[in-house]
Amino acid sequence: MLSDLETLARQVEAGMRLALPVDYAGVSMAMTKPLIARGAGDLHVICVPTGGLQVDQLIGAGLVSTVETSAVSLGEAGGAPRFNQAVKTGAIRIMDATCPAIHAGLMAAQKGSPFLPMRGLIGTDVLRNRGDWQVIDNPFEDAGDPIVLIPAIKPDVAIFHAPMADRFGNVWIGRRRELAAMAYASTTTLVTVERIVDESLLANEMSAAGTLPSLYVSDIAVAPKGAWPYGLWGEYPTDTAELIRYAKAARSDEGFADYMSGRMLEPAQ
């Protein structure tokens, strides 16, 4: 199942629901350019549970119609300029959530359940604006006790970056178990990795503990420094200067276009 980035990108089709991880978990930034080149638009992006640079760039490239998220930002580099602009102009539909609600929706899909209940949310404008969520009275209490039900989130495609995969398609995700949650919930899971190892990651209990089995992995491509300018836990730190450079450039449509066409989309090796 070892492919290249373009082959992975071709598996994303217009209108799909695309799950992408939080900035510190393993963002496959290496896939951003191939996704934009592929050009499949009208995407419904699900941030697990928040989004950053990749989401901002996909929005800037005009590929996104809906963002379902608990937040989008560039962290230390400030607000996400293309996201903020698209919200302001109404160019994208925003489905504001809260982190545990995104996790609950994915967990419902993981469990094959139609929904998961969660505490909190009552009285928020987050809930008020989510017509797709339901409130019921907790049936285990005699009266009252409203509780929110979050419907299952079933992405068509999950895309993330991890340190390594083996020749058998197993991917090492370490303690970043939201990556497993995304894969469990999604129909297709596309993974980029720093490297391929020869021995099965399931062959010993130590590496197996942090492994997403190939059962849940659709396709893999090698992309060294594939999270850049984000960091990858245990591998390399975030390139904050580059994030700031992007944040400044992307304030305007032209600046964004300039940035995206630039050579700096490649990581320094």
């Binding site: 302001k88 809260t98 009552i122 928020t124 303690r175």
Partner: protein, 262 residues
């Protein structure tokens, strides 16, 4: 380094955070929150010195202080299990009822100013017993009469499951306590160099206050010594830029000539 030595405004904030956290077993701190983190570290150092029960600190997004191994859902699970006693929340807007807005100003969804989003606030505010609202900028655009979007409400109707919520509001000018029964803030103390009239001007909501509010206490010598020693060292590991800035400020405060000359 005596109690009479000059003290940085941020040192007062950090010492106040430590006081507000007194008694917690486990506090979670957001990724880019050096002052709350420093306050938590100061409390931990004080308890350690006093030989009292240890304080556990989880700093989100940090590799060094990440004690979680079950992905980004674990913080929320952990809070839901009642294993997190305190948490910090900021906000683009905070109103007098303790409502927090992390989403945007103006209409929704096409906000005139859009902030990142609600993150976990719409859950954590309900289940973490002691949520400390912390925002250094103390201005009428932040502290509004009514938030434009409720990411998380200060109080809930009877019958709504709620075991957490706002405990205090700490700004660069003063400290408010939240009155859960009345659902509003009361000014607890004013930081050195500020006064009630200034705070009233800078606050867009009404709040209770004594006629002559007390001044926020300065850290005692023991506390200050821990803060400037052990805590700054610990802080440097996670927030190197912030720690360096504070050390520079401190040097300027203690030896203005040297700081200018350097």
């Amino acid at each position: 380094m005596s109690g009479a030595s000059p003290i940085l405004p941020r040192e007062i904030l950090i010492a106040t955070v430590a006081r507000l956290l007194d008694g917690v077993r486990h506090v979670a701190v957001g990724a880019s929150s050096p002052i709350p983190a420093a306050g938590a570290m100061l409390l931990r150092a004080l308890k350690q010195q006093a030989g009292e029960k240890p304080v556990r600190i989880s700093i989100l997004g940090s590799v060094e202080h990440n004690f979680f191994t079950n992905g980004s859902a674990e913080l929320f699970d952990c809070a839901g299990q009642g294993r997190i006693d305190a948490f910090f929340l900021g906000g683009g807007q905070i109103d007098g009822q303790g409502n927090v807005n992390l989403v945007g100003a103006g209409a929704y969804p096409q906000s005139s100013v859009r902030w990142p989003g609600s993150f976990g606030s719409a859950y954590l505010y309900f289940v973490v017993p002691r949520v400390i609202l912390f925002r250094e900028e103390h201005s009428p655009r932040v502290f509004v009469n009514k938030v434009d979007f409720i990411s998380a409400p200060g109080t809930s109707a009877e019958g709504v499951y709620r075991r957490g919520g706002p405990h205090a509001l700490l700004t660069s000018k003063g400290l408010f306590r939240f009155n859960k029964t009345q659902g509003n803030f009361a000014l607890d103390s004013v930081h050195p160099g500020h006064d009630l009239a200034e705070i009233k001007d800078a606050t867009g909501f009404r709040f209770d206050h004594p006629a002559r509010p007390e001044q926020t206490p300065e850290p005692d010598a023991r506390t200050l010594s821990l803060l400037r020693g052990q805590v700054m060292d610990e802080l440097s590991e996670t927030y190197p830029d912030f720690a360096k800035q504070m050390r520079d400020d401190l040097q300027a405060l203690q030896d203005p000539q040297a700081a200018i000359a350097s």
